[in-house]
């Protein structure tokens, strides 16, 4: 005998967001440790080291993956903050739209920084 299926309730993104917040955090932590290790190993940064680092395609792609994780993480976090403090629906929607625009802008800027160089 099968158990009755519970009535679907809620917005259904809770578990997905809970998990993606943690997965993106771990991606950023790995990137941070490797990056800090590289910088401290080189005893700081000068232009030659810095330029060579960003010239490598693997580093560019890794940075892009980290930034996508960061922007996703920021969306989940900021949306949670807005859900707690911005109670009127019109205000919340307006702020969420502003945040999404900002995040998409950051993403475009990231591509520009990584692949738009001279």
């Amino acid at each position: 005998m099968s158990r009755p299926i519970p009535a679907p309730v809620g917005a259904h993104y809770g578990l997905r967001d809970w998990l993606s917040q943690r997965v993106t955090a771990i991606v950023m932590i790995v990137y941070t440790v490797l990056f800090l290790g590289y910088v401290l190993w080189n005893g700081g940064l000068d232009y030659t080291v810095w330029k060579a680092l960003f010239a490598g395609n693997a580093f560019r792609l890794a940075t892009f993956v980290m930034m996508v994780g960061l922007l996703w993480h920021a969306w989940v976090g900021v949306r949670n903050i807005l859900m707690d403090y911005a109670k009127p629906m019109s205000l919340r929607l307006a702020l969420q739209i502003a945040v999404i625009c900002l995040l998409v802008g950051y993403a475009g800027w990231t591509v520009q920084v990584l692949w738009g160089g001279p």
């Binding site: 943690r22 950023m28 700081g44 000068d46 920021a74 903050i81």
Partner: protein
Amino acid sequence: MAAADREVARPRPVYLNLIAIRLPMPALVSILHRITGALLFLVGIPLLLWFIQRSLASPDAFEAAMLPLRTPFGKLVLFGLLWGYLFHLLAGLRHLALDLHIGITLAPARSSAAALLVLSVLLAIAIAARLW
């Protein structure tokens, strides 16, 4: 008798003076996790992208982009963001530990929250000292 039907002996005080509320240590870490996250989103990401973009243009532009970091105000801003990032990262790790049911009773939750505050400051000082 349902809880709502019971007569309240005294009206409960609504006490939401943010300045007078003394937050327990885990609550302080929780709200700082939020505040640092919001600041990293609003200030950290654009400053980071701006710095990388400027600094990669040419050796002169690299020096020019580094210049604000050598002023006391620039160092203060960078130190603040560095601490904010480290605090947010460590608070996230603490969160992951709590998810795994590590340190969820009151005493370890309090001491890990206090350790987190101290450790984030020490780590920020250590990295700043190495960079300058």
